[in-house]
């Protein structure tokens, strides 16, 4: 066998940001338009602040937003969008209503007109709302049979306690009680342009796209209600919470650790520490529990950001019989990253990954729309990428070790396991104090 040498990398060219324009249009909506003409399409993201809204109503509103306007039925809306290759959908998280869509570039004006009708002249017709309500209830019921959802629900309750983020999915009976008039009232109160941001990315002329947005959405007006959510409470480590799922062939292992928001000067270093620990395939934790031990298929970690606080989430589905050993290795790897500085090579590898995958995200219309919308949601613009990539490029071992010791220490983790409690309680109890959760 001849030995061949791994080719060197050619260093990245300087970061190039796409051409963009921004304007606050009549009515108060902020519009950001970005030119990326790679395919003849346009991506749309509209973020409307929705913090502190009543969960069952807000969830149903997001599901029923496209059920009708004063002049269009749900079928009209869908058909008119399709006619320009378009589609729109809405989703909710504890901070915002997010409307996402795309169309052929030549269909942008029409997509904006239809969006404007939905925003300014909503119908919430009785029959259609009833259909969406029943569907939402069915979806929630299916979600409640999925281990990932159950584990997340238990973890959110455990870490957020009485904070509004503790419950992010309504109960079926709460949804059942919501009436169309309540949706109309919530829409009138909260679906307002002030504080909202519209992002358009694609094969567009940014100035003209903003003109089109102004023409369509200039009549969408109204003040935003204050939806500021109080800061999340500090994590309170305690006994491992064990939630029973009898007969489960896998355990869902979840941990929450403290984290920094994106604007923090130490954020890049924390992201690198996260990567070295478990945030990508070539991390210590994944190489350990998957590639060495074979305990799991897709373990992952990541920093989750909400407006009122951030947390580092650790997730793995592990075979029931290795639940204890999986916790052992996880705590070991957290202890190692929190106690000892990372190696030069592994830090460099994580750094390149963080920088490279950002370039990959920036290479598509959808990726740019996601990045621009995400930053706009915290008052930043795409040019923040220059600052962030510089911070990633310059973070030192000492900085990474410092944030790791503060944020990745296993003593700071809140741990939840969903699994067959009778089988896993013993092995878990050998490692830590276990408390069984109420059903």
């Amino acid at each position: 066998m001849s030995t061949k040498v791994l080719p060197d990398l050619i260093p990245d060219a300087k970061l190039k940001l796409p051409r963009e324009a921004e304007r606050t249009i009549a009515g108060g909506l902020t519009v950001i338009a970005i030119r990326r003409p790679a395919v003849p399409l346009v991506e749309l993201r509209l973020r409307v602040p929705f913090g502190k809204s009543p969960l069952p109503r807000a969830t149903l509103l997001s599901q029923a937003l496209f059920t009708g306007t004063g002049t269009m039925t749900s079928v009209d809306i869908a058909a008119e969008l399709q006619a320009v290759g378009g589609g729109l959908s809405a989703g909710l998280d504890p901070d915002k209503l997010l409307i996402s869509g795309n169309s052929l570039a030549a269909g942008l004006d029409r997509m904006l007109e239809i969006l404007a009708a939905v925003l300014t002249d909503p119908g919430y017709p009785k029959d259609e709302v009833a259909t969406e309500r029943d569907r939402l209830i069915d979806h929630i019921q299916v979600a409640q049979s999925q281990p990932a959802h159950l584990a997340r629900t238990a973890l959110l309750k455990r870490i957020y306690g009485k904070h509004p983020y503790a419950i992010q999915t309504p109960e079926p009976e709460q949804v059942r009680a919501v009436r169309p008039a309540q949706l109309r009232a919530l829409h009138a109160e909260r679906v307002r342009p002030e504080g909202a941001v519209l992002v358009l990315v694609g094969d567009i002329n940014p100035e003209k796209a903003i003109d089109a947005a102004e023409k369509a959405l200039g009549s969408w007006t109204g003040p935003a209600k204050d939806g500021t959510i109080p800061p999340t409470p500090p994590l309170e480590p305690g006994p491992l919470l064990l939630v029973d799922r009898p007969g489960a062939v896998q355990s869902s292992l979840r941990m929450a650790l403290p984290a920094l928001e994106r604007t923090d000067p130490d954020y890049a270093a924390l992201q690198l520490a996260n990567l070295v620990f478990g945030g990508y395939f070539s991390s210590r934790w994944v190489e350990n529990i998957r590639e060495d031990k074979g305990y799991t298929y897709g373990p992952h970690t990541g920093i989750e950001h909400f407006a009122a606080g951030s947390a580092l989430m650790v997730s793995a589905e592990v075979a029931t019989e290795v639940t204890g050993p999986s916790l052992l290795e996880t705590v070991y790897e957290l202890g190692r990253i929190a106690s000892l500085p990372p190696g030069e090579d592994e830090l460099e590898q994580a750094r390149r990954y963080a920088l490279g995958t950002l370039r990959l995200s920036m290479s598509t219309q959808a990726g740019l729309a996601g990045l621009a919308g995400m930053y706009a949601g915290i008052g930043l613009r795409l040019d923040h990428l220059r600052e962030y990539t510089a911070a990633l490029a310059s973070a030192t071992r000492e900085q990474v070790a410092d944030v790791a010791s503060r944020f990745l220490a296993p003593s700071r983790a809140v741990t939840v396991v969903l699994g067959d409690a009778d089988k896993v309680e013993g092995p878990l109890s050998a490692l830590t104090t276990v408390e069984r959760g109420a059903e």
Partner: protein, 435 residues
């Protein structure tokens, strides 16, 4: 109805050549973003697994990441991610793909990594046992520990097809996975992972001459091995309806899925394409036939989807394949009633034809989906590698929106008329969980 919107096209350039060892290469440069996508596709998938070795094609895909001639275990992952890239692989019915997306300065590294494992993976007992464990956890996550696991992609083929090749479980039984040996893996590699049985596609930010030279340098010395003869997996269409029912102990609500055979996606492409459009006419969005009727009007289903190919890869699947409809129902839902309504709507379509604008708007939306899929570098490298492998026509990726736009109402009506109950295979999910 407003005048019809023009369906636009992409003009990604396509360069093709074949190395002396038989490896077919596709280059599609686009310098608008500093990233590249590299895809290698082998012409072997789930259908080629030997009996007693269900799940082997997928298990073998995992082994291709476990080290190769010049690379230790873990090295592949580290070299890709340490170059700022992402990687993966996937096993389909008819092919297995391996791919990376990276900053453009890492192109040569990705080519080196793919060439190294094309010469041969390091197949060891230890890595095999480790990856059997990992694959079992993958199956537990995706099938055994969740509601509706494998529905319908693992559940419908045994109802619809008779031969082992077409009907067996592509994830594999734990028994078969446990009995896999290193020798099996070596034989599988020797037989199917020949460079004459593979294509390489590179998309994105590179210079064609430079990339061509790199490809020759890295892949040129992969030993020439011819492609094995590919069996014809065809089998007769159904002449009477087939049904199966199973209880999913984790599912809270009932579900139903049906499939009908469609024309050969490659050999009879003009006959096949209308079915791709028909699936969307039936299920794409609130204005589609079956969503409007079953979800909005009758409320007999909570969601319904339609697509071609058990893995949803309509332009990357060979004959035999099917058009699928799958629906989830509310509590107490009646699959019989849903199927009867589907038949009624298909009849209506076959007799009354389409409404004004219905075809055009569906085609416009399909065009958006197709164009959007090509925006990421891998959205070009992967399908072009498969189109080269299966059809020798990677440039077809540019043509698909237009071809979809040329499908006529008469073709849709004719396609709908073939979806008869007696040609249908159906599987029903009985909810076993207390909701």
């Amino acid at each position: 109805m407003a005048r019809r919107i023009k369906i636009p096209a992409t003009k990604y350039p396509v360069e093709r050549f074949t190395l002396d060892n038989g490896l077919r290469v596709v280059l599609t440069p686009d310098r608008s973003a500093p990233v590249v996508g590299v895809a290698v596709v082998y012409d072997v998938g789930i259908r080629s697994e030997p009996e007693g070795r269900t799940g082997f094609a997928h298990l073998f895909e995992h082994l291709m990441f476990q080290g190769s001639e010049n690379l230790e275990k873990l090295a592949h992952f580290r070299h890709v991610q340490g170059a700022g890239g992402t990687f993966n692989g996937s096993t389909h019915l008819d092919f297995t793909d391996y791919y990376e997306a990276l900053p453009s300065g890492a192109l040569e590294r990705a080519l080196f990594l793919e060439a190294d494992r094309m010469r041969g993976p390091r197949l060891t007992e230890e890595n095999l046992l480790n990856q059997i464990d990992v694959v079992k956890e993958e199956i537990r996550v995706n099938v055994l520990n969740r509601p509706y696991g494998g529905f319908p992609w693992l559940r419908l083929p045994p109802v619809m097809f008779s031969t082992f090749a077409n009907s067996h479980d592509g994830y594999g039984s734990f028994g078969d996975l446990d009995s896999a040996t290193v020798e099996d893996a070596q034989n599988f590699f020797d037989r199917y992972y020949a460079c004459g049985n593979a294509t390489l596609a590179v998309a994105g930010d590179f210079d064609v001459a430079t990339a061509t030279e790199m490809i020759k340098r890295h892949f040129g010395d992969v030993p020439a091995r011819p492609a094995p003869e590919r069996p014809d997996f065809d089998e007769p269409d159904l002449d009477s309806e087939r049904r199966d029912t199973y209880t999913d102990r984790l599912a809270p609500l009932p579900g139903v899925a049906s499939a009908w055979r469609v024309p050969d996606p490659i050999g009879a492409f003009p006959d096949y394409l209308p079915y791709v459009v028909l699936a969307e006419v039936l299920t794409d969005g609130d204005a589609s036939r079956l969503v409007e009727r079953l979800v909005q009007r009758d409320r007999t289903v909570t969601s319904i989807g339609g697509y071609i190919g058990f893995m949803g890869d309509e332009f990357q699947v060979r004959n035999p394949t099917a058009l699928l409809l799958q629906a989830h129902m509310p509590p107490g839902g009646d699959a019989e009633k849903v199927l009867r309504t589907v038949d009624e709507e298909l009849d209506r379509l076959a007799v009354d034809g389409l409404r004004p604008g219905e075809l055009e708007r569906t085609q416009a939306r399909i065009a958006t989906h197709l164009l959007r899929d090509t925006d990421p570098v891998l959205g070009r490298a992967l399908p072009m590698a498969v189109l080269e492998l299966q059809r020798g026509r990677p440039e077809m990726l540019n043509e698909l929106p237009k071809l979809v736009g040329e499908v006529t109402e008469a073709q849709i009506v004719a396609a709908a008329a073939t979806l008869r109950p007696e040609r249908r295979a159906t599987v029903e999910v009985i909810p076993g969980a207390t909701a």
